[in-house]
Symmetry: C2
Subunit: 199 residues, 2 copies
């Protein structure tokens, strides 16, 4: 085994543990899931977790950090895709909604288990969330300033648009009536209504 082969295998194991932790946390909650639940889902020995991750909280932090960075990237890419606030909002809501429907298990964990993070990790994740909120609020404020949107309370509109997307993670089922893309279209319409987009 070469050194780079060892590294590759360690990376794979680390990723397997993260995937297993998402399932275990979603199923039993952070406090209800034991490290043994996680290694058992990953098909590894109980000790494997501490070879690759410092603690159960560290796993939650990695899942949460990656998830929030993905969401921030998706929001910023949508905003960069156009100069027109209506087009920006359409792209943003469609991507945000499709992501929360497809990745509903991860989304549940990172939105419902914030309180289980260490204070330091909580601060870091809350900063990321504030950045995401601010991007959406600024977009809506720009739309209002340019006369594309009509809403006296851009802050509340931003809360509502994000809240609708996040709550999809609670109720979405893979075998339900709606595909992620259909939901994306419907929620674009809802978001345009909320901001009062001129059509």
């Amino acid at each position: 085994m070469t050194e780079s082969g060892d590294r590759l295998r360690a990376d794979e194991t680390r990723a397997r543990l993260l995937d297993a932790a998402v399932l275990a946390f979603a199923e039993r909650g952070f406090h209800g899931a034991t490290t043994r639940d996680i290694t058992s889902i990953a098909g590894l020995s109980a000790a494997a977790i501490y070879v690759h991750h410092r603690s159960k909280e560290e796993l939650l932090y990695q899942i949460s950090r990656t998830g929030h960075l993905d969401t921030l990237h998706c929001v910023q890419t949508a905003i960069a895709s156009s100069d027109n606030p209506t087009e920006q909002l359409i792209a943003l809501v469609r991507d945000f909604v499709i992501h929360h429907a497809r990745a509903h298990t991860v989304a549940r964990v990172i939105n419902y288990e914030l309180a289980a993070l260490s204070p330091e990790h909580q601060r870091e994740i809350k900063d990321l969330r504030h950045t995401i909120d601010a991007e959406v609020r600024t977009l809506i404020e720009h739309g209002v300033a340019q006369g594309c949107f009509d809403n006296p309370n851009p802050q509340m509109a931003a809360v509502a648009v994000l809240s609708l997307g996040i709550d999809i993670a609670r109720w979405y089922r893979d075998d339900g009536a709606w595909q992620p893309e259909d939901l994306g279209d419907h929620y674009v319409d809802l978001a345009l209504r909320i901001v009062g987009a001129r059509r």
Copy 2:
């Protein structure tokens, strides 16, 4: 101690255990909270729980059943308060939102721990949820039929209105910027936009 005094005291203990279970489930999740966590919050001996409730799941079921019946009652009362769909929706959203902000801890438990209920209890609670959903969908359908609302998809509008209210339980903080009543007013405006109410 008279017999009715005994009964009163037993009722009080049962209620104290339910309140303690709400706190323990909200803090550590259903699977993470032990029966000892619950009796300790209630200030009772570890054995007290089985004198008054059959199991931890039975506590969750009682909390969930009461919470859903309260919500159904609040929805039906709002609808009965007027013949006009716009007035009905205003009353419904205001009450639903204020309730989810004030009772955010209970609302988190009953909305996020459904999967922890026994199959039989899950069926009963899901029936209650379908009844609540159907009340809101029917209200919006009536509003569209009467020309008060303009939305091609009353079912999706009903999902969104309820979803916005439920998600308040995730993010609402007692020491945050908004009082439950302010939030009620803001969300009435959002709901009227979503259904396309003529103003």
